[in-house]
């Protein structure tokens, strides 16, 4: 298949891997930000091609994984209301809340529907004027423009029965939080190509400069990731730290300016809680005050929900690149995709799910605990 097969070609992959092996002289820890990249790495057995000195750790870029438990509980409470038609991307439906997930709400008679686009939810609101249609708007900068577009469209149509339950998060503040942490081991980042397609990559310059880390904008196919790693290693070995674009077929430096303008029209930046990590300053998007009418948390009073994580789950450490999934004592035993303790075991972008599905025969490679 054109534009896909070229990026999964064995000979090209082996050449890139040989180049990486040739120039690697020291141990390097590189984090890929996006869960989609994590899945490519594990699904293609990409680490088989890399020299042992390179450790890939998996970042927080899994929208489902970082959505706070309290918000999932709120989603469950709202979706259980008889007047609500609750819509979500498929991935979100199986993420465990404190006591159940959205699929269980559906099984118990709740009107929960999977959609492929937030605009489908707007269409449902038009079609069912006597129902409150709620869309679970989660994700990074990648999904934010489509979610913003849905709100803009609902406003244009004057819909009184559409709202979003919003948990939009932003990548650069998360990178800053990881790099500021005293436990950080990450020496270079592969930035998420889709996020940069929207936002561009100028936001990463100050991060690379102040923390002296290479940041390489990277795509999602195996060859994209190998090229991202290669460019990161070139910089690391040379002691350089700049921002480079290894995904030029999709990403421009300034990004998608109309999409950014749309985000500014609909959202403003706020402090946001990340599941497993905690609150990161100015790391999320929320509807602008004048659009609060479309905010499901305002529209539906579900009370204050306090939720407790499973004490055994190490999702927070996995999402911060401090531990690998199989270092978790309950990985694959108590915690499995059918009965997950944490979100990374569920999502198609979760690191634990990737290791469980594709990587179980791989000898465990722990993250270096001393520099």
């Amino acid at each position: 298949m054109k534009y896909v097969d070229e990026f999964r070609d064995e000979r090209a992959a082996q050449q890139l891997a040989a180049e990486i092996r040739r120039m690697t002289t020291r141990r390097w820890t590189i984090m890929e930000i996006c869960g989609g990249q994590t899945h490519t790495i594990v699904k293609y057995g990409l680490e088989d091609l890399l020299p042992p000195e390179i450790t890939l750790v998996h970042g927080p870029g899994c929208p489902v994984c970082v959505t706070p438990l309290e918000l999932i509980d709120k989603a469950v409470a709202i979706a259980s209301r008889p007047d609500v038609l609750f819509t979500s991307f498929g991935d979100m439906l199986r993420v465990p809340g404190s006591d159940r997930d959205l699929l269980s709400v559906k099984a118990a008679g709740g009107n929960v529907r999977m959609v492929y686009s937030p605009l489908d939810a707007v269409g449902l609101a038009e079609k069912y004027p006597d129902r409150q249609v709620v869309f679970f708007a989660v994700g990074f900068e990648t999904t934010a423009p489509a979610n913003a577009m849905a709100v803009r469209e609902a406003r244009r149509l004057g819909l009184k029965n559409f709202s979003i339950l919003c948990s939009q998060v932003l990548v650069p503040p998360a990178i800053r939080a990881l790099l500021s942490s005293p436990t950080n081991r990450v020496q270079a980042f592969l930035a998420a190509g889709h996020v940069c397609t929207v936002m561009g990559y100028h936001e990463y310059d100050p991060l690379a400069a102040s923390y002296r880390v290479p940041i390489v904008v990277t795509g999602f196919e195996p060859l994209d990731i190998l090229e991202g790693i290669r460019l990161a290693v070139v910089q690391l070995e040379a002691g350089r730290h700049g921002v480079e674009n290894a995904y030029a077929r999709s990403v421009k430096r300034e990004g998608n300016v109309p999409a950014q303008q749309l985000l500014q029209e609909i959202f403003h930046t706020i402090d946001r809680q990340w599941r497993g990590i905690g609150t990161i300053p100015m790391s999320g998007l929320s509807l602008r005050p004048e659009l609060a009418y479309f905010d499901a948390e305002v529209r539906f009073d579900v009370g204050t929900i306090t939720a407790e994580e499973s004490p055994e789950c190490i999702a927070g450490s996995v999402l911060q690149g401090l531990k690998k999934p199989h270092e978790c004592p309950v990985f694959g035993t108590v915690c499995r995709p059918e009965k997950p303790l944490g979100a990374p075991m569920v999502s198609s972008e979760g690191a634990c799910a990737a290791y469980y599905a594709y990587g179980r025969l791989r000898p465990p490679q722990a993250i270096e605990t001393s520099p």
Binding site: E10, G45, L46, D48, L49, F89, Y116, P222, Y356, L361
Partner: protein, 355 residues
Amino acid sequence: MTLARVQPDFDGAACPIPLTDYPHVLLAHGGGGTLSQHLIDKIFLPAFANEALGSLHDGATLPVERGVLAVSTDSFVIDPIFFPGGDIGSLAVHGTVNDVAMCGARPFAITAGFILEEGLPMDDLWKIAQSMGEAARAAGVRVVTGDTKVVDRGKGDKIYINTTGLGIVPQGVRIDPARATPGDVILLSGPIASHGVAILSVREGLAFETQVTSDSIALHGMVAGMLDAFPDIHVLRDPTRGGVASALNEIARSSRRGMRLDQSALPIAEEVQGACEILGLDPLYVANEGVLIAIVPPEAEGPVLSAMQAHPAGRHARRIGAVVADHPGTVVMRTTIGGTRVVDMLSGEQLPRIC
């Protein structure tokens, strides 16, 4: 790829129950009275016409050869009931015939139980019965006995069909998933994931540039050819729900053997792969209705592959991997870039990803 498919031609023909009388199925159509009789006489008997059914007895009596009988039962609840490449009626025949064929048997008869939802358009029922009859005739099997029930509106989803298939296993044939043996080769009859993607594209109203068509087809002719070429085939399986990955995992577990696949050998149509890429689905887990997996000793690879390729649905048949002694119970795949990964059993439903 074009296959000789059973696509009944409805042009010029019309439902024999005048729409003005009963445009929809009523509860009384399942009540055993005049309306039930009407349904049998006007819809089912003409569609399935054969002696065994025509006797209208409580059950069918069938003369059988000596030997081993293969029996398989299946239920069809597909939504939508009409889809590109078939409908619930043709699918019920193909699915049942294929299950019997995967036992190495030659299917000769099927039964059909219909559960209809009150309000189902009579015209839809007629089309489905016609399509089922056509598919059965094309496959050389008879629908020998049946049953119809009607449930209240809202208590079913238009139409469910339950079937049982009967077939005779030829002497010397012993298909058994436990017979997968290290050194055996794994053959696949054709491009994967077409059925699941075709259904998803209609169900979710996804508009692709190219229409993806279900691969639904009866495979017993191909199986007969394969067994003629080499009777000692070890394992046959049609990878329906759960796809090729789940079928191979089941075989790996029952035989306590490992399997090794080569990702670059897996055949997939470009439009199907494109749809899977967009939706974030792994085609290895997407349903097929016209594909089979055969596990055969290495010396049988040539003759069995030729027999598969001689069938219209097997033209793209190829070897996709081998049974190995390592990692018993686990399927491992060499990826297109030369790495390896586990191909696990599907957990839950495949859900499209967020981004």
